[in-house]
Symmetry: C3
Subunit: 449 residues, 3 copies
């Protein structure tokens, strides 16, 4: 694993960006062919790993806990034109122009009536807002406040939407990469033996709040698949937000409760502004511990409250589900100005942003893989000198370079996992991993349960 | 209960003030007819509730733990006059002029000898201090420092006190209002099933540090009696401070230890300066939790230390007694300048002060009544929309109004009582109560043990 | 014990200073006759107590956990001379001039070759650094940077060291002063029944970082021996740092793990700059609690981190050894500028410094002796007045003087030891001890297990 980390390609961010760029134009919603196209592109991207997402189609009408899988939305065309047949807005130019899950319409109306179906973002006059109405049938159009202001009285407008709500299905992509037969430690895997990485595929053309998560997930699939040893299995889930995770949970709850050791919802992971996370309900799970440990050694990060939750951690952490899952973001959804508008485009995300998210999540994975309870095998401090691990001459100042090793040994009493030791001694796990390897090789360390 | 809260009469503070004003002139001590008159007025005030205080008379000499019920003090007259028979001070003008529990005296003396029996408050020269000597027989007079300075040498003074210490009794008032047959929840009441509200009746004419507590208690009796449902029984105790609570505890300890879920000592609850409370010994009881929860959503409050205790929480929280009791005050006794002087009069307390204390204690009672462990009955988030509890269109910003409901549901995992949830989600219990009602009505919530 | 405390001789600091002054000139290392001379002087100093250190000699080559007892170092002469036979440095003038554990040498060399064997402290140009090479055989000289700069090219220097590494032994001094037959409380002593006081004897002429610890220990032996009653036994250990404590632990581990209730490593206890301590691994032992309690009532103190450990607490607190031991210092080793140089001489330590350390450690001992769980024997507050423990007249302000007693009683519920109560009520243990005596004498207190 260390090798994999050292060889980490600094241009991975660029590749993730390019993948996101290909996903960007697709018209996605919580159901429909946009989701399927998205998952097909992901599967194409990860082909070299030998793994493929399994695509699950869950039929309209399937009861999922307190909810029901909705009808599938088919959207073909949507525009408003004026009496001169000039298009005011056209779905072909920006798929945000149509209210998500709009029913069809084909009517000439006065301005007043038109405006009952128009949504804008008043505080950002040149942005098209993203609006949906999944659970009540209505139709509508989204436009910039500027466009709205250009509309005229005493003329008619043609509202046209060619859409259908059909008995179809909801689409979920899933991939489990199993633990390797040869593992790091002789315990043959953990009781809770899976790491969950979940992201969503349900928004149309939004870069950070849609395309970034699936694109990063694809590259984490590549990273995990390339690991020479894996103590954990890795479960990657791509689903439409909220209804998708509810559906997935309703069909896999017992297995997930039994297996998941830590889970991460990836959302808005492409910009380069901040690192942040949304803790689980009591902020006390392995997922909380590992993400905070990794982020605290970065320049700065924001720990939100569970009260700020908004993506699928809402479902994973709900009462009775109680999975150890946190939300990982750069700028958090609903906290950055471009959120849920046409401004959340490919200029908002960057290669650097993706690279940082990728490295952070790889660190998380490595930390989890090495996160055992270690125990020093000798009583009192070991004589590091005779093993070439210590300077042979004692002089003021000469101790500094091996402090991390000595402190790691001092807390390796079998009570602490590696993350806990990292916190006690204030050294990043990624710097402790090579020392663990060295101490294991010198038979000074063992891992205990 | 919600109804009761909504109908809360904003002029209740005025009524409490008027009651305190009637109690003010009475000469009370830890025993004697002043206490009996006080309790009679309280009983008259609560007549409309159908409940009356039971009056307990505990005879002089009764052993009560480490103490003995003292002789009953009878005070008829007390003055100092000069050679011209001019009264320097007269108990008839202010009952603070005589040292509490003074033995009788009838002597003409020189100034030097007189001054051995005179108490003043040097830092407040125009105030008469309140001084007592319950457990060592002596006599004495209290006067302002100014009056003391006006006394002359080379003239004689007549010290006159007509009092007796007789074999009588100590008087305690007690009322238990039982839980109603129909309760909020199907658990038929709690294991610990009583709320204790205790106050003292032992100081002569002091407004905040005497009359405010019994007057507020009387109006809480009215509030509790009017509740349509009560999960808890309510035990109201009126006793002389220290010796009274020791006496009451010595006769009821096992029952109290078995029954009391939370208790409140009311003292100095009539001024309008601050809200404050004195925590229990480890600051960890239900009483501590509910009072701090209610006060933290007010403008400001002071949490004192148990080291600042001074009223009957001293006994209720003593080792081996260990009741979950806190002290509730506006300005805390011994912390405001007028304390234990003639300046603690009816101008120090106000209708607004009483109204605030009354509302705070009603909030405490409501919070206790609703303070169950709730559990959401569906897995994942419930679909609030189909029950009309959620907006049907999703747009940036539209979530805010139902955040409290969503957060309440998210923490309703059966591990937290309502006070704990209020702390987690930072919403006052009084705002959560109507949401609980709504969620119970929609069968989304149940209460668990 | 109270008597002993009250009679504490304020000139004890002077006596400790004088003892340190006698120890200063001796050439000590981790083995050899310097250690034996040091222990002989200690034994001479404590002769009046009737106790003597037992001297243990552990042979070269003895395996001690991961280590082996090294050869014994014999050093007779060491100097560098120039071609005119002028001595550049001479071990006779300052025993720091020779690298600790140097092998012999007798060679005339050019400057370049000489410098390969010369150690200086560049940031303190007039100080000779203290350098050792215990575990790799080499020879070397230490000198000031100024002396080094005065050396000339194109001339020869004579490196001369007359030393030997022989099959000898490592020397440890040990003394156990047993608990007295009559103890404070009727429990006949504790499960964990020893207090450990450990210090080191392995540096040549350094005042604070060598002589201060053994000198203070000698006077604590006198203090403990003079106590009229002892609930605990006291184990004093004098050993060479690191290898000595490893050796001692390897031979006594099971007994120590069974018996030690709290332990203190004394190092750098002679200067008058600061009080400080190095906590145990989790900062949660009785030793941590008592030292912090005593120091927090002093003007100021520094609580270091376990990460700052450097003396024998490294071994006592290592995984699997896990003894409740902390390090006690004034200025902490490695944190003051003179550390491990010739500037750490008898001007750095002072009578005041030693007196302060002595008093702090006596307070620690007294606190441990009295540190029982006390329980008030009456319910509700006891009537202190009838026992002459309370003023008989109640007036604003008159309570203050007995607050400590009342607060002590209020927390004496059998759940807290005396240190915990001191923390709750913010009164030093040394002020609580006479109150405990008074309450025990009045049969108001008992100690519980």
């Amino acid at each position: 694993m260390k090798k994999a980390v050292e060889n980490m390609d600094t241009s991975t961010g660029k590749k993730i960006y390019n993948l996101a760029d290909r996903l960007f134009p697709i018209t996605r919603s919580i159901t429909g062919k946009g989701v399927r196209e998205t998952l097909e592109i992901i599967n194409n991207e990860i082909k070299d790993t030998g793994y493929q997402l399994t695509i699950h189609e869950i039929p309209t009408g399937t009861p999922v806990f307190d909810w029901t899988v909705p009808k599938e939305w088919v959207i073909r065309e949507a525009y408003i034109e004026n009496e001169k047949h000039e298009k005011i807005i056209d779905f072909k130019e920006n798929n945000l122009h149509v209210l998500g899950y709009s029913t069809p319409v084909d009517e000439w109306v006065e301005l007043d009536e038109l405006l009952e179906h128009v949504y804008t973002q008043e505080d950002m006059p040149d942005a098209i807002p993203y609006v949906t109405s999944y659970y009540k049938e209505r139709f509508g159009f989204c436009m910039s406040e500027n466009t709205k202001k250009s509309l005229k009285k005493n003329t008619k407008y043609h509202m046209y939407i060619d859409s259908e709500l059909i008995e179809g299905s909801l689409t979920i992509g899933e991939l489990i990469i199993p633990a390797t037969e040869e593992v790091f430690f002789d315990d043959g895997g953990e009781d809770k033996k899976e790491i969950l990485i979940s992201t969503y595929t349900c928004h149309p053309s939004m870069a950070n709040n849609e395309c970034s998560g699936p694109s990063l997930s694809a590259y984490l699939i590549k990273y995990v698949a390339a690991l020479p040893k894996r103590r954990y299995s890795y479960r990657f889930v791509f689903n439409p937000e909220t209804i998708g995770s509810i559906t997935y949970l309703s069909q896999n709850l017992e297995e997930l409760k039994k297996n998941i050791a830590a889970g991460f919802v990836l959302s808005c992971v492409g910009d380069n502004r901040d690192y942040s996370f949304i803790p689980s309900r009591y902020s006390d799970t392995l997922a909380d511990r590992v993400i905070e440990n990794v982020l605290k050694f970065k320049e700065k990060y924001t720990k939100y409250s569970f009260l700020d939750r908004g993506s699928d951690e809402r479902q994973y952490c709900s009462p009775g589900v109680d999975l150890p899952v946190i939300g990982f973001c750069r700028s958090k959804y609903a906290k950055y100005p471009e959120y849920h508008t046409s401004k959340d485009d490919m200029t908002l995300v960057s290669e650097e942003g993706f690279q940082g998210s990728y490295e952070a999540m790889c660190e998380v994975i490595n930390a989890l893989e090495y996160n055992k309870n270690y125990k020093t095998k000798v009583l009192c401090e070991p004589q590091l000198g005779k093993r070439g691990l210590y300077p042979t001459i004692s002089k003021k100042g000469s101790y500094d370079s091996i402090l991390a090793m000595r402190d790691l040994i001092a807390y390796a009493d079998g009570r602490n996992d590696l993350i806990a030791i990292s916190e006690y001694i204030n050294v990043p796990v990624k710097e402790l991993i090579p020392i663990v390897d060295k101490l294991m090789a010198n038979d000074l360390f063992e891992s205990v349960d």
